[in-house]
């Protein structure tokens, strides 16, 4: 049996994590969401450091920009600079509409930039189509063996 696709969500807003996990858990893909609340934790998770030695390698990273301790752009450039992590698609998922944030994110190698919608129907639609696209339709490179 195929294991559930693992998603890492980096967000300091528990309400967004709950809602996203909920939407993804109920979707056809039966995705599993691992959540961390700041940039330092995100890097620890991805590098299997500290309490994350048994953490799975995520198939998709959903990253907020405005994060405590280490912000989203820093996390993004760390990921893209690490050959072991660079191939994992990173979706920026944030409230910022600033064109400078959008430009910077793509500059740093983000695979996609999505704005968190302000109401439920749109939020559900965006999260659903994000997972469907990146973990369904898109062809991704072979995962690195640990």
């Amino acid at each position: 049996m195929k294991s559930k696709p693992e998603i890492l969500m980096v967000d300091d807003n528990p309400a967004d994590i709950d809602l996203t996990s909920e939407v993804l858990a109920q979707s056809k893909g039966h995705f599993h969401v691992n959540a961390v609340n700041d940039g330092i934790e995100a890097i620890a998770f991805l590098q299997h450091k500290g309490k994350y030695t048994k953490a799975p390698v995520p198939a998709l990273i959903v990253l907020d920009l405005n994060l405590p301790r280490k912000d989203g752009c820093d996390v993004l450039s760390n990921i893209k600079a690490d050959p072991a992590l660079a191939k994992i698609p990173v979706v920026i998922f944030t409230t910022s509409q600033a064109s400078s944030d959008i430009a910077r994110s793509y500059q740093l190698g983000a695979n996609c930039y999505l704005r968190k919608p302000g109401n439920l129907p749109e939020f559900v639609a965006v999260v659903q189509s994000m997972a469907d696209f990146w973990l369904g339709f898109a062809s991704l490179p072979q995962r690195e063996k640990r």
Partner: protein, 397 residues
Amino acid sequence: MLSAEIEPCKDAFREGCDHRGNVGARLKLRAVVVEDEPADVELALQALRLADLEVDEDIAQTVEEFTELVRKNSYDVVLADYKLPGWNGMESVGILRKEGLDIPVILVSGALGEQTAVDCIKQGAADYVLKDHLARLPGSVRRAMREAKLREDHRQSQAELARSNRDLEQFAYVASHDLQEPLRMVATYTQLLAERYRGKLDSDADKYIHYAVDGALRMQKLVQDLLTFSRVGRQGLALASTDCNLALQEALKNLETAIQESGANVEQDQLPVLVADSSQLVQLFQNLIGNAIKFRGSEPPVIRVSAELSGKQCVFSVADNGIGIAAEDAESVFVVFRRLHTRAEYPGNGIGLSICKKIVEQHGGRIWVESEIGQGSIFRFALPIKTTPTREDRQKR
């Protein structure tokens, strides 16, 4: 002891200075006297002293002396002879202007002839007093100082107003920006409550949740509109040669759905090419035409956009066959958050026309409406015609 007794007199004197606007009050003032004839200086000062005007004077005989004095010290008034060796007293007006100083210049001169005197006043001299009518000088000085004080007060209140407007815009921006995030939480989660628990609580609960969702979504729209409104002022103008026909086309494209649904017919004349901020012009047309569609009567909307050159400005008109506006509301429709109808009749936050007003005024123009209830409305706006962006305009960006 003696000095202590003198002090109060000094204070009273200083008080006299502060109230220099009061006619007849004893006044001390600093003046530059532009004059090459010492006897004439003395006569003028004597005339002022006789009328309780104590003058602390500096004498300037050349352009250089005058420029140096006004740069170094502050003065209440300039008393200038007209004919001087190598220059004339009127030049002092130009020098002050160049130095950015607003000090009234009173010409104290021999007969100049009516035409020259009128020209001097036109060029900015505060007054013109004949040397053989020096009795007129004190009144003239008091009046000139009073007017200078009024101008100064006006400048200060203008600056104060501009500052407070900037603060307000900044506040609106920060408030609306930071409000969005918590609002998003309220909106999404009340919607989740509604979806998940509809029919599982009681009918009151369903109703209350519906009110909460509705309030949150409405507030979201309000906050977004407020953000748009504050952005129009904050971002300044990106001025460039703009084809108003293209701006209108883009506005119509953005309104495509509303135009189709209402069966609106939009007619347009040939519009000019102007120096303007094109994205703001699009928004301007879009808001005006959007309103014409929204506030339509029983007939499908017929909207006519036209423009007419008149002198140094171009007057645009957006005319409709809608429900119209009562004459007493013609001003207030442009006030932010002002609505003339209930939300059930016509949705909206009452911010569209205030954005229009801001856009037009930023371009140095004005906007108004001509309308009667039931007779349709004509929104007109006049934009000044500039051929190329000035340096000042570019700096605004």
